[in-house]
């Protein structure tokens, strides 16, 4: 956006104020540019989150077919490990290995050091509240969560509790007894700044013949 263009936009401006229009236009241009960049960055986060899931879905399908970890794009530092679904609200996300900032930009991350969903212990998945785990606010106690793992095994869980906890006092022991699942995201959902609180959805396995079963 240039000064001359802003003159065109203001055809009524007389010669007297012609000097001041470019200044104002310059300010406007700077604001507009900064605004576009910021908005673009914000939109980029969402675009990346959505696009990545499409690529990850494909990689995960390959992974299931071959049984080997498959990266969604060549330079990725992580790979799909599971698909998390909440059938009641139609949510489905591909989770990645590790919960680094890198992974979380693209999908829910499976926390290192926690078991795979369906194994003994508490499998913990984390994702951003405004993208992949925005649906957590709709999850209710009693909902079913399905996790399809990379190795083709599926595990089903029933939501037992939702709660808010500080990030460093989650009360989640990955080695606790039972086969459990915890989905966590930042809380409150509509806040625009980062905070120490996390929203935790806890679920326990719906016992079938010995936990995780082949698909």
């Amino acid at each position: 956006m240039s000064a001359s263009r802003s003159l065109v936009l203001s055809p009524d401006a007389g010669g007297r104020i012609a000097q001041r229009v470019p200044l104002r236009a310059a300010f406007a241009a700077v604001f507009a540019l900064a605004g576009l960049i910021l908005a673009g960055q914000g939109a980029y986060v969402h675009a990346k989150a959505i696009l990545a899931q499409i690529l990850l879905e494909r990689a995960f399908a390959t992974s299931l077919a071959t049984g080997a970890p498959t990266k969604a794009w060549a330079w990725a530092d992580t790979w799909p490990v599971a698909r998390i679904e909440v059938p009641r609200i139609g949510a489905s996300e591909i989770a990645l290995a590790g919960a680094s900032g890198e992974a979380l930009a693209f999908g829910p991350g499976h926390l290192d050091g926690t078991p795979e969903a369906g194994e003994p212990g508490v499998a913990i998945y984390a994702a951003h509240r405004d993208t992949h785990f925005a649906f957590l606010k709709e999850v209710r106690v009693g909902d079913e969560i399905r996790v399809l793992r990379r190795d083709g095994r599926a595990a089903r869980f029933r939501v037992e509790e939702t709660r808010v906890a500080a990030w460093n006092a989650s009360g989640l022991d990955p080695h606790a007894a039972g086969r459990r699942l915890a989905l966590v995201t930042c809380w409150p959902f509509d806040a625009v700044t980062r905070g120490p609180l996390r929203y935790v959805v806890e679920a326990s396995a719906i016992e079938e013949s010995g936990g995780a079963s082949p698909r």
Binding site: S6, T114, E119, W167, T193
Partner: protein, 767 residues
């Protein structure tokens, strides 16, 4: 058990190098923490619960200022008054049987209060120690602990605690950190706690050594006490507030740098080295060595009692010999015989024994290696290239998400080729993803599998971000042939366990380089090792009967490393034949099993090693997690090992605590191991020019400080202190983005711009 998570970057944008940097930082913290656990060597966190309202015994009260030696203080009923926590003396009885040491620690603790007390001790163990026995003597009661499933043990303990019965529980917090809980210690009673653990002896080159964590006493009693410690009534961890009544609590409390600690410790080491002993010495304490037997000594402290102000270290060396020194120990437990054999390569001869090598260097130049890691890896590789001789063959493979092989096959290490390789390495820059499998396969491919003239080695330098471990393992297992795989984790090794397994499968070693500063020294050690493969192609065979042997794959024996193998058999008889190649000379040794020396804890060593094997097969997915856990549980229960899945519990069946009396717990803080720089660890209190106060009393503070120390790479451990409480649970990552904020701000700015362009001219026109 808590796990810690990498801190997340503030930015969600996906440039590889900041990511890599973040990961390295995280890894450095993790490594510092790991080192710290080992370095923590003597920290015993005693948490003693005293019912404050009942602790009224006037004579037991002290003020911190009254203390002339280190002691734990419990909060008394009146503000500012404390009772001295149980701490008396400790006796260490160590029996070294060849490659293992069995330590019996007897600590006598006194409950000086007239209330009922629950004590909780957290103590670290050397390396791969396994607590397998705990005995509690309270008054005239002797309680021998029993091994149970972890949850079951906890339930038994809690039930006994409720019923007023004296009970004790030993749990594994981490593989090298254990907790003892003792419920219902009576008023004024002296309690003896005896812990027994089995641990391997450390071997470094020709030097064997053991280290005993010696922390019963506080090591640091701060200098001027200017703040008041207020203990939290429930959690027990106090906070230190700037003292409102400075005058009442009088300084000083002694600094260990000024007043010798007085907590006495006695140590006896029965050294049965299994080989002809050279020197026996301690770098930490004055010792008295008795015994004239060529392989056995009894070591005691020169002074009867020494202050427990630093860890005890004892080192011994073998008298040098031309043939490998082979040790053989046996133990009979529960109808089975257990044998441990170990092979120490001959020293001296190895140098001349230098077989030409065929070495393939694989260097990771992916984006995550950027920064100092890449530089150090390149420097290390250049160093290695310099040490090649024209008789050797070599090649260099670099990889990121692509790979490039310098020569298509290994070539003679002529000066021209080496120069070419050096130039190739110097040009590398760190970028791209990490595709580790193709270079691994390329390196494993051996066009001359029958070339016995050369030792084939693969040196794999990477930051350790192995994603597809299973394919890596498959490739190694199916393709290793005669190659040996040496994993070198540089900068960051989040997957160090898997790197270890990869090296084990590849019959090489895993060199873990925690900080970039270490790279050079560690690489030098590694290459020194690579240049002298002492014994290769090892085999072990028992002449009679089937033996359940571990490890399943015998590694090569390198300079400074012993082969330790254990087996269980129905009856020790016949011979064990161990064979291999020293250089290109076949070498065998036949051991008459009947001549095996009796040794303590051989069965534990075998079981411990079998548990490791079970973990391996779990990793290799030869067995599922459940089958592996079942195997571990079976071994642990059979051999009474405290593991991830099992605990030791002892209950005195007689209820003792009267129904009316209450039992509460208040954790009592602990103290720093000697050698820790108090100021560096805890720092000066802000707003207090007189420096720090009782260290452990400030748990939260200590924690954050320790984490900072760890982050700086100092060998300090946040481990025992950074566990806020068992219920705090896993840390959760940051899961908010600034997308909304940016969108809103961006839209606001655009609106402002539009406003500037439209609204103001409009107003002007109207005017």
């Amino acid at each position: 058990m808590d796990i810690s998570l990498p801190p997340l970057r503030l930015s969600d944008f996906t440039l590889p190098s900041p990511m890599a940097r973040a990961r390295r930082v995280v890894a450095r913290i993790a490594i510092a923490a790991t080192l710290g656990i080992a370095g923590l060597g003597g920290l015993i966190v005693a948490t003693v619960a005293a019912n404050a309202s009942e602790a009224r015994s006037a004579q037991a009260f002290v003020k911190p200022a009254d203390m002339t030696s280190g002691a734990l203080l419990l909060k008394g009923a009146e503000p500012g008054k404390f009772v001295e926590a149980p701490q008396v003396r400790a006796d260490y009885d160590v029996t070294v049987s060849g490659p293992t040491m069995r330590t019996r620690v007897t600590q006598a603790f006194t409950n000086p209060t007239d209330g009922w007390v629950e004590g909780v001790y957290v103590y670290p163990l050397p390396e791969k120690g396994a607590v397998d026995a705990m005995t509690l003597v309270i008054g005239d009661r002797v309680i021998v602990a029993d091994v149970k499933k972890r949850e079951e043990a906890k339930e038994i303990y809690e039930a006994a605690k409720r019923d007023g019965k004296t009970a004790a529980l030993t749990e594994q917090e981490r593989p090298n950190l254990f907790t003892n809980s003792v419920a219902n210690i009576g008023p004024g009673e002296t309690v003896l706690v005896r812990i027994e653990y089995q641990a391997p002896v450390h071997q470094d080159a020709e030097r064997m050594s053991l280290r005993i964590p010696l922390v019963v006493a506080p090591r640091y009693v701060p200098k001027p006490l200017v703040t008041e410690v207020s203990m939290d009534a429930v959690g027990g961890w106090g906070v230190v507030d700037p003292a409102p009544d400075r005058g009442r609590i009088t300084p000083p409390v002694n600094d260990p740098r000024e007043t010798a600690p007085t907590n006495p410790v006695s140590i006896t080491v029965r050294l049965n080295a299994g080989f002809r002993l050279g020197e026996v010495a301690s770098s930490t304490h004055k010792i008295k060595v008795d015994g004239t037997d060529e392989a056995a000594r009894t070591v005691t402290l020169d002074a009867a009692d020494v202050p427990a102000d630093r860890d005890f270290e004892l080192a011994w060396t073998a008298a040098s010999g031309p043939t490998p020194s082979v040790g053989l120990f046996r133990e009979s437990v529960g109808g089975s015989d257990y044998v441990v054999a170990y092979v120490t390569p001959p020293t001296g001869a190895a140098k001349e024994e230098k077989r030409p090598r065929e070495t393939i260097f694989v260097i990771d130049n992916s984006g995550s290696m950027s920064g100092p890691s890449m530089g150090q890896a390149k420097a290390s590789l250049a160093f290695a290239l310099d040490r090649l001789t024209p008789a050797d063959r070599f090649d260099v493979i670099r990889f990121d998400d692509t790979m490039e092989r310098l020569f298509l096959d290994t070539v003679a290490a002529t000066p021209e080729n080496v120069a070419k390789a050096k130039a190739f390495v110097a040009r590398l820059s760190a970028e791209g993803g990490t595709e580790m499998l193709p270079p691994l396969k390329a390196a494993l491919f051996d066009p001359r599998p029958n070339d016995a003239a050369r030792v084939r080695q693969i040196v794999f330098l990477t930051d350790g971000a192995i994603g597809d471990e299973q394919r890596m393992f498959d490739a190694i297992a199916s393709g290793r042939g005669r190659s040996r795989l040496f994993m070198v984790g540089i900068g960051s090794a989040p997957n160090s366990f898997l790197m270890t397994r990869a090296a084990e499968l590849g019959r090489g070693t895993f060199t873990h380089i925690g900080s970039t500063e270490e790279v050079d020294a560690r690489m030098r050690e590694l290459f020194a090792k690579l240049e002298s493969p002492v014994i290769t192609s090892l085999t072990a065979a028992f002449s009679e009967g089937a033996a359940d042997m571990t490890p399943r794959t015998l590694p090569d024996i390198y300079r400074g490393e012993p082969l330790v193998m254990a087996a269980r058999m129905a009856k020790v008889s016949g011979a064990l034949e161990i064979g291999g190649l020293i250089g290109d000379q076949p070498w065998t040794v036949k051991l008459d099993l009947a001549k095996a020396a009796p040794g303590d804890g051989i069965s534990k060593l075998w079981a411990r090693r079998k548990i490791d094997d079970a973990e391996v097969s779990r990793t290799l997915r030869e067995t599922g997690p459940e089958a592996a856990d079942a195997e571990i549980l079976k071994l642990a229960l059979e051999h009474k090992l405290t593991t991830r899945l099992t605990s030791l519990v002892a209950v005195d069946q007689t209820p003792r605590r009267p129904a009316g009396a209450t039992l509460t717990r208040a954790e009592v803080p602990l103290n720093l191991p000697a050698g820790w720089d108090f100021d560096a660890v805890f720092g000066k209190r802000p707003g207090s020019e007189q420096g720090p106060t009782v260290p452990g009393m400030r748990r939260a503070d200590a924690q954050s400080k320790l984490e900072r120390v760890a982050a700086m790479g100092v060998a300090a451990s946040p481990a025992p202190l950074a566990t806020p409480s068992p219920s705090a649970g896993a840390n959760l990552p940051q899961t908010a983005t600034d997308a909304e904020l940016k969108l809103c701000a961006g839209l606001a700015l655009i609106l402002l711009a539009v406003g500037l362009l439209i609204i103001r001219p409009a107003r002007r026109r109207a005017a």
